[in-house]
Structures are given as structure tokens and as C-alpha cells.
């Protein structure tokens, strides 16, 4: 089963603004029925101010597609079209307290429906440059099309190249077989064959960041997530860094919370993205945990 955040579940079970919007004057229809996710976004836009007065959606898709649609409509209501266009797919995912890597495309679909609806309102033709392939790297949510395009346009030839250019394969390394297959295919087109190159030493791999820079980035990620945790009467503190293991202490309502593992996973994901390497977040138990959930809504 997917690890959906409480917020994703809540938006799926009780979607906001669901159903057709009778007096919509902007509509965007995006998605792919073969992939099983498609969305119709409807907006009622005030012609004077270009402000979005109301929004509605109809979605054929999974739990996170419905939750992303619901979140998007909530986020953009009251915005002007230009303001709404600044909402990124990451914003939608953040609003939902994150999405599993396999499901990030649901937030992309939301963003694209928004672009399509705005184009529709302005009488423009929206062209999507969207092409989605099979998910290869699950640590960083990178698909086959993205890897293939990058390999082709940058003349890449090794797994390490792919890691450096796309981050794909830079985490748990389980997808290296898939990356090698893509390399073999593209290299064959160039008339070359794939050769295995010895992986660089761990020092070289992380060598791009100085120890100081690395620590700074780790601290920054912790600082970035603290406000959200503090809102739920919790907190997180950096305790120590030992190679790829980062020790943290969960405080207040976060300590011993049922959602602690999920929270840690989210922070760990952010950490990996900031550092471009695999790290493990380990909670250090300090005191007796306080009872209760993180999200008493």
C-alpha cells in the first residue's frame, strides 16, 4: 500500500470542489487514460480582475490524483491567473505534505491542467511537452524518458554520468540495471557499446561538497522543516552527522508520534535531494515520548 500522508488521505476521502462547475469560463483537460489518470479542471474567472472566483474538477484516477486535484482547486481559488500560474507541481505536493515518488506525476498533472485552463481562457493553444516513461529511480522519482533524453543530449556513457546529470541511481543503486539498459540502447544508436567503468570511490562521489557545505545544507533542511513541525506542536533537532547517517532528535508532539516514521522519511527525502547522495536519518530517543498525533485537526 502507498504511504500517503494524512493530508492526501483526507483530501481523497473528502475532496473539495469536486464535480462539474456550471458557469465555468475556463477549462483544462489533461492526463492519459492509458496511464489511468486524467483531470478536467474548470475555473470561473472574473473578466475584470482575472481573479479565480471558483474552481471545480472531475478526475479519473487514483487516490493521489483526486487529492492533488482537490488541493489545486483549494490553492488557486482567489488568486489571479498570473498568481495561479506561479503554483508549481512541487507546491501542490507540499500542500499535501508530500507524495510518494511514484505519484509525483499526479501533481504534475494538476499543474498542467492549470496551464491548459488558463490557455483556454486566454484563447491560446496549450501545448504540452509532457512525456512520461516508466519510473526507473524510486529514490529521486526519475523516469526512463528523462534519463534517455539526458543521455542522448549530453552524450553520456556511464551510470556515473547519469547520476551526475539526473541524480537517477544516486540513492539506493537498485535501479542501475535499468540505467545500464537505457545506456546500452542509446549507445547502440550511436554505434558504441556500453562498457562498465569502475564506480568512483565514495570520497570522489561526495567530493563535490566540502564538509562545511554539506553540514550547512543538512542544517538548512532541518531549519526548513521545523516551522511545519512546530505548527503541530513538535520539533526536530540535529544531533550528529556520522558519514551517511544523520542523527536527529524528535521533540514535543513529534516524539513517539504514530506518524514519526512518515515525517522522518519526508525529511530524509529532502535531505537526499539537497545533498544529491543517499543519507539515512536516525532518530535518537531522548525522553519519554509525549502522547498524541502530529496532526490533531
Amino acid at each position: 500500500m502507498w504511504e500517503y500522508s494524512e493530508k492526501v488521505q483526507e483530501h481523497f476521502f473528502n475532496p473539495r470542489n469536486a464535480g462539474a462547475l456550471g458557469d465555468a469560463n475556463a477549462t483544462g483537460e489533461v492526463g492519459s487514460i492509458s496511464c489511468g489518470d486524467a483531470l478536467r479542471l474548470m475555473l470561473k474567472v472574473d473578466p475584470e480582475s482575472e481573479r479565480i472566483l471558483d474552481a471545480g474538477f472531475q478526475t479519473f484516477g487514483c487516490g493521489s490524483a483526486i487529492a492533488s486535484s482537490s488541493a489545486l482547486t483549494e490553492m488557486i481559488k482567489g488568486m489571479t491567473l498570473d498568481e495561479a500560474l506561479k503554483v508549481s507541481n512541487q507546491d501542490i505536493a507540499d500542500y499535501l505534505d508530500g507524495l510518494p515518488p511514484e505519484k509525483m506525476h499526479c501533481s504534475v498533472m494538476g499543474r498542467e491542467a492549470l496551464e491548459a485552463a488558463v490557455a483556454n481562457y486566454r484563447g491560446e493553444v496549450w501545448k504540452d511537452d509532457h512525456e512520461e516513461g516508466a519510473l526507473i529511480c524510486k529514490c529521486f522519482a526519475i523516469d526512463a524518458v528523462m534519463i534517455e533524453d539526458t543521455v542522448r543530449s549530453n552524450n553520456l556513457s556511464t551510470v556515473q554520468d547519469v547520476i551526475n546529470y539526473t541524480k537517477a541511481g544516486g540513492g539506493c543503486a537498485a535501479c542501475h540495471e535499468g540505467i545500464e539498459e537505457i545506456l546500452t540502447k542509446v549507445l547502440a544508436e550511436r554505434g558504441e557499446s556500453f562498457k562498465v567503468t569502475p564506480p568512483p570511490s565514495p570520497v570522489a562521489a561526495t567530493g563535490k561538497l566540502s564538509t562545511l557545505e554539506r553540514v550547512k545544507r543538512i542544517q538548512q533542511v532541518i531549519e526548513d522543516v521545523r516551522p511545519a513541525l512546530q505548527r503541530d506542536r513538535g520539533d526536530i533537532e540535529l544531533v550528529d552527522i556520522d558519514g551517511k547517517t544523520i542523527y536527529v532528535s524528535m521533540k514535543g508532539a513529534c516524539a513517539g508520534c504514530q506518524m514519526e516514521a512518515l515525517t522522518l522519511q519526508g525529511v530524509q527525502q529532502k535531505m537526499m535531494e539537497a545533498l544529491g547522495e543517499f543519507v539515512k536519518l536516525v532518530p535518537v530517543r531522548a525522553t519519554t515520548p509525549a502522547p498524541g498525533l502530529c496532526n490533531p485537526k
Binding site: A38, L39, R40, C62, I66, E112, A134
Partner: protein, 402 residues
Amino acid sequence: MNPIYLDNNATTRVDPAVVEVMLPFFTEQFGNPSSMHSFGNKVGLALKKARQQVQALIGAEHDSEIIFTSCGTESDSTAILSALKVQPERKEIITTAVEHPAILTLCQTLEKDGYTVHYLKVDGKGRLDLDEYAKLLTDKVAIVSVMWANNETGTLFPVEKMAEMANEAGVMFHTDAVQIVGKLPMDLKSSKIDMLSISGHKLHAPKGIGVLYLRRGARFRPLLRGGHQERGRRAGTENSASIVALGAACEQALANMAFENTEVKALRDRLEKGILAQVPNAFVTGDPDNRLPNTCNIAFEYIEGEGILLLLNKQGIAASSGSACTSGSLEPSHVMRAMGIPYTAAHGTVRFSLSRYNTEEEIDRVIAAVPPIVAQLRKLSPYWGENGPVTDPEQAFAPVYA
């Protein structure tokens, strides 16, 4: 509210009596069956009994035809790789488009290694064309591997007939029978099946135990070499607790065979009729007249399966779906696609698979739960209008990238 488990084709609960039987093998019966002393000897005798219990369930001629493995997947890989190894001059494999990934992924990998794999197509009800099959049976084929019952729809393939055809053509025949063993009676000694895979956890034995049935005389090369366990055909110290458990589970399955085909089947039919009577735009996939007694796969048009499962789960009901999202791939189930089920229905397929532990009261709760869930999701669907699908759905909603 007690949870209702209708996902028995995925895995089953270990029968409490089976757990009871296996427990001593973690404590006092810890010996290595290969050892000379009495610690080992008792375990060896227990394994012998288990082998005979498996033999009885599948109607094998000799108990030495039973090779214990770690799972169904290992049995499948062992069978196919063995056939290729003993016949290096034969470079073709025949299988079907609707096999379990344990076979399909292996075959796709073998294609990269230079083998030719023929994937038999199925029709709209998931049935094979035996004429197509007959034409492919040549002396270039090393092995035919065809599942006995499909895990998603429960549809049965005529493997006994197909094994005879292969035998006449001088081709080895393997069947992945993990879904059918314990649900329908079989008598392998009167068949031409050379190899057959069993998975313990599909019939109320634990996970981590499987069987490869290997007909006496069928040429064989082991996947794992080492010690002399399983007569040198599968090296590695025996998983004695699980082997004993599988034996007990097989004995129970044999005793419950009639129940499975009357009571469980009746519950399945009650569920299916109950849902279809209330939910419009829903249909049974596969071949309803020729399938496992416990399986029912319903396509709910214009909605997506993951949403259905999440809402069912909220009410404590466990089932599974063939949608892309639940399989973790970009496409809906390859079984649904092979049958030509349109995307708008394939993503909305839900598999209910029962066991002898389900009750009528549970089934009635599911019949009551499903229609409102489908209606709730259809309300969100761009293909659904006030009281039914919008006119010309594919035209009315045509998202930008297809």
C-alpha cells in the same frame, strides 16, 4: 467492525492447525534432517510425511517427484532454466501473454539473451487459440510454460490437453499452478505435465515455501547446486518447519476440496450477482464459465481501481485491482490489456478472491459497501453524468495527451 479479507489470490492466512503443526520444528525438532543422530532423523521422517501429503493433493505417482523450493517463483525459474540447459540446441519458448511476472519477466530477460519467446494471445474472455499453439510446437521449442489458472481472473487454461499436444511433439511442458493447487482436484500421474509449480502461501501454508513437481524421468538440471538435499536437485538445508506446514496445508486442502467447490463457489456467485444487480456499467472479466471457484474480477467502468480499494479498505474490506496505480507501472494489468478490455474499464477492475474462511455475513457486507463507493467515485469522474455515463464518453472527455 471485523476486517473482511477477499484477497486470497495474493496470499492466504496460515491455518491455525497448520501453525500448530509447524511450531515444534522451531524448538525441540530443530535437527538437520541430513544428520545421522536422532535429532535429525525425526525431522527427516516429518519431511517424508509432508512429501506424501503434497503427492496426495496433486496426484503424483511418486513422492520423489516432489522437490521443495523456497517459493513459486523459484519453482518457475528452476523449471524453465533447467529445460534450456538440458536442450542447448533448442532456443524457443512458448508461453502466454497473461502469465504471472514470475514467468513473463524471466522470459523477457531470456529474450535479451537470444532466446525466442512466443506469447500466445488470448481472446476477450481470456481464452487461448489452440490452433495457434499447435503451429508453434516444433523441435526448436525447449519448453512450454502455461499457467493453469490466471491469478487475476481465475480463468482456467486447458493445460492437460496442451501438455498432451506438447508431449506428442516431443516438447517439455511446465505449468505455473500456484493459483489452482488446493482449489480444484488434479491427478498428475494421468497427465503429460512434466513440471508444475506450487506456492505454499496460496493454500494456507506459510510464505517462503514452494514445490516443483518433476515427473520421474523428465530431464533436469538443478538451479542450486551444493548438498544432496532433495536428492541433489535443490541444494540447501531444508526449511523443515515450512515443509511440514505445507504438508499439513495440502492435507487440509484435499479434505476441503468439495467445500471449496460448493460453499466457497456459492459465496463467490452471491457476491458477484449481488454487486452486478446494483451497479450499472460493470462486468465480469475473464471466462465466467471456466474459472476458479473462489475468484471474481469485476470491471467498474469510468473509475479507477485504487480509489475503490482505498474506500473499501476504509470499511475494512481487502481486495486488489488491475489499475496502473496499484501495480506500480504505467499501464493497467497486462491481463486486462491482453483481453482487449478498454482503458476506461481496465483501470477500474477489482479482484475479489475468497477462501474457506469467508462467511455469508461478510459477503453481504461487501455487497452493501460496493455500490455507494462506485457511485461516489463516479460523481468525480469526467466520464460520468447525472445518472450514467455521458453520451459518447471518449469524445466528451479527451484529455490532451493520450
